[in-house]
């Protein structure tokens, strides 16, 4: 057989210009019926980033150190999920503190507060490592300005959203807020979410919470996220509720 002459078998699509209108992977071109190698790598790299984010770990010293600027105590706790494998298989474990953590919080004689802020890895510690403190740098001045009383910050390893309700309850807070890594997508492995619960207590579910999601520089930026969250905090404390009832009336948030 002669040397292959067709060393560039890729058929490009003529509608590349449509890429301007969407981030979807359109006009990829093809070789035979398959996607070109360049596109294959592009996809695999994005998936690799997402997978790495799922298994990333909280930078506890780094976060604690940065939190010191707010002149507030920092507690570091652990959920019932002993490791990532357990965390992925048992969402119920990630929603509860382990025994040592519960005992620790129970042993503290805490005065009643307005807000407890929790930081947890969720499904992307990468997101939280990068954005939790920068978002708080936008939010904290607003909270202090409004003379709201804060519990110590709580960092939770292997935590899911609902863990903040137990923590807020044990720390006798009117409101719990959790900053947590969202499930990574191919387009964003580093998206952070913030959830808020009024009158937090163990056993509450999604309909009791409000959520501000997609917090990252290319999504909802830190300042906007802090604005939205602060609006929700004020509304929640004032109306003494959170969840569906709050959401229904929050059409003007951020507008």
């Amino acid at each position: 057989m002669d040397e292959i002459t067709n060393s560039q078998p890729i058929v490009n699509d003529t509608w590349m210009a449509l890429r301007e209108f969407t981030a979807a992977r359109i006009a990829l071109g093809r070789t035979g019926n398959s996607i070109p190698l360049q596109e294959l790598f592009d996809f695999k790299l994005a998936h690799a980033h997402a997978r790495d984010a799922v298994f990333s770990e909280l930078d506890i010293p780094g976060i604690t150190n940065s939190l010191n600027q707010f002149d507030n105590l920092v507690f570091t706790l652990h959920s019932k999920a002993t490791n990532r494998a357990k965390y992925l298989k048992r969402p119920d474990y990630g929603r509860k503190l382990n025994e040592a953590s519960t005992q620790y919080l129970e042993s503290i004689i805490s005065p009643q507060t307005d807000i407890t802020i929790v930081i947890a890895d969720g499904l992307s510690a990468t997101a939280v490592n990068q954005y939790a403190v920068s978002m708080l740098e936008c939010l904290m001045p607003k909270l202090l300005n409004a003379s709201l009383k804060l519990s110590p910050f709580v960092i939770v390893k292997q935590g899911r959203v609902a863990v903040a309700d137990e923590i807020g309850y044990l720390l006798r807070s009117k409101l719990s807020i959790i900053l947590i890594g969202e499930r990574p997508g191919l387009s964003a492995p580093d998206s952070m979410g913030a959830y808020l619960t009024f009158n937090p207590q163990p056993g509450l579910t999604d309909e009791s919470r409000n959520c501000v999601s997609n917090i990252r520089p290319d999504g909802l930026n830190m300042q906007l996220a802090a604005d939205k969250l602060f609006y929700l905090i004020c509304q929640s404390l004032q109306r003494k509720l959170s969840g569906i009832d709050l959401k229904d009336n929050s059409g003007l948030i951020g507008e």
Binding site: W15, F21, T22, A23, A24, R25, A27, L28, L186
Partner: protein, 463 residues
């Protein structure tokens, strides 16, 4: 009633049919999460051996969720057709498995049994089957449905074009839609998951697809996958609704968590039928299901997730759907942990759906926290193609930028069609050839380089 089996002096006892079904199920994380799995490998096989000896008739007498408290159970029992069941009424679950694989169980015979098979019978027999068995039997089933084209004929394989966009931006959706059509995708449906359930936004998306469809006379149907009550509402305001979509589950409580019940689905079904928009058929419903939905809604009544899933098919078949799609890997690793579990579940769902007479498609998919990747999806897609699956999803580059998960791409469908000699729905295939997108052999042709579709909505592209 108790069931038992002895292995080497160890007596395995199962206190109810429900427990027996759960313990006989191949391992998956969702059943472990629900605390329903067998204690070990031996107990699982003991349960399977025990289940094999249970007469099919028992399933008509021992409801796994009480008739009195669950309308899905009532639907299953009340709609059971004794005459269709008669030919297999003397068999046990194990004998049923052997018979299904025999040559005499051919396409016509299997079709005639459909009203006599209950979801629990289908689930039970699937638990005794290897992946190979699930594929071999499903391939013999042929479920054909019609609206503006013919879906599910043997030798054909369709795709749902899924041009989602995170903000429902019209240009963004249209760009993905045109990309898909130029790759020959969209004969099952052009179906968008909207970012909001807002009726005005849904109508806008429906008009977008419908305008393009009419302009190019595309023999397919459209759907915006909003809640059924939203569809009902917009039907009343004359929106171009081809199909009504709804997520459904296998227990009354699961459906309640989705905000529906059988009466409401019936109302939507009748309303959609009354629009008479189908040109060659009247299958107007599009349902989505998925193992784990009942557990996720805390509504599983101690029934394993695969049996719950099969029960959802009883709900589906009541309303003669055009498409039923099991969104198998979307729910996450706490229900289906890895590629192996996702593949097994998809083959079970496809088999059970087909045995129950449903036009089954599969969203061959995974999320980024599941231990799965594109290689697993390639395996599953190929297996489903061999098994005669009616349709899969077509998403630009497999990457759904709105729902943040990975599914099958336009390219994947082309791969499968070429590999197995499968064609799109006949009417759609003719359209593709007429448009110069495919040649007569089903190969993408180059004639669309300056294709009209690209100039479709010049107004749309103008910023």
């Amino acid at each position: 009633m108790a069931y038992q089996h002895t292995i080497k002096n160890k007596v395995y006892r199962f206190n109810s049919l429900k427990i027996l079904l759960a313990k006989a199920t191949p391992y998956r994380s969702g059943d472990a999460l629900a605390g329903l799995v067998a204690d070990g490998y031996e107990e699982r096989i003991a349960a399977q051996i025990t289940l094999a000896d249970v007469p099919l008739k028992v399933f008509l007498n021992e409801a796994i969720i009480p008739y009195e408290t669950d309308e899905v159970t009532r639907l299953i029992i009340d709609d059971h057709n004794t005459k269709a069941f008669y030919p297999i009424s003397h068999l046990t679950v194990g004998e049923f498995r052997d018979w299904l694989l025999a040559d005499e169980a051919d396409t016509t015979t299997l079709a005639s049994l459909v009203p006599g098979v209950t979801p629990e019978m289908a689930a039970a027999v699937s638990k005794l089957m290897r992946n190979q068995d699930l594929i071999a039997v499903a391939r013999k089933c042929e479920v054909v449905t019609r609206f503006r084209n013919t879906i599910g004929l043997h030798g054909h394989f369709s795709t749902r074009l899924q041009p989602n966009h995170p903000t429902d931006d019209a240009k963004g959706v249209a760009a993905s839609m045109i990309d898909g059509l130029l790759y020959g995708s969209g004969d099952a449906v052009i179906g968008i998951n909207p970012a909001t359930d807002n009726p005005a936004a849904v109508i806008q998306l429906l008009n977008l697809i419908d305008t393009l469809r009419q302009q190019f006379d595309i023999p397919t149907q459209s759907c915006v996958l909003c809640h059924l009550t939203t569809t009902l509402q917009i039907i009343n305001s004359n929106a171009p609704v081809d199909l009504t979509f709804q997520s459904i589950g296998g227990t009354e409580q699961t459906n309640a968590s989705f905000g529906i019940n059988l009466a409401l689905v019936e109302e939507a079904y009748q309303a959609t039928l009354s629009l008479k928009r189908g040109t060659i058929g009247n299958n107007v419903m599009y349902f989505e299901t998925g193992q784990g939905s009942s557990l996720s809604a805390n509504s599983h009544h101690g029934v394993d997730q695969q049996t719950c899933e099969a029960r959802a098919y009883a709900v589906a078949r009541k309303f003669n759907p055009l498409l039923v799609n099991t969104v198998v890997g979307f729910i996450g690793p706490e229900y289906l942990f890895d590629g192996k579990q996702i593949i097994r579940a998809a083959l079970e769902d496809h088999f059970c759906g087909k045995l129950l007479g449903l036009p089954m498609g599969v969203d061959v998919c995974y999320t980024n926290h599941a231990d799965a990747d594109q290689d697993d999806m390639d395996n599953l897609l190929t297996l489903l193609g061999v098994a005669g699956c009616n349709f899969v999803m077509g998403i630009p580059g497999s990457d759904d930028i709105m729902l943040n998960y990975q599914s099958t791409s336009f390219h994947d469908a082309l791969y499968l069609r070429k590999l197995l000699g499968l064609k799109p729905a006949p009417e759609f295939e003719q359209w593709l050839i007429k448009q110069g997108i495919f040649d007569e052999h089903g190969t993408i042709s180059h004639q669309h380089n300056t294709h009209k579709l690209l100039n479709a909505n010049n107004d749309l592209w103008t910023k």
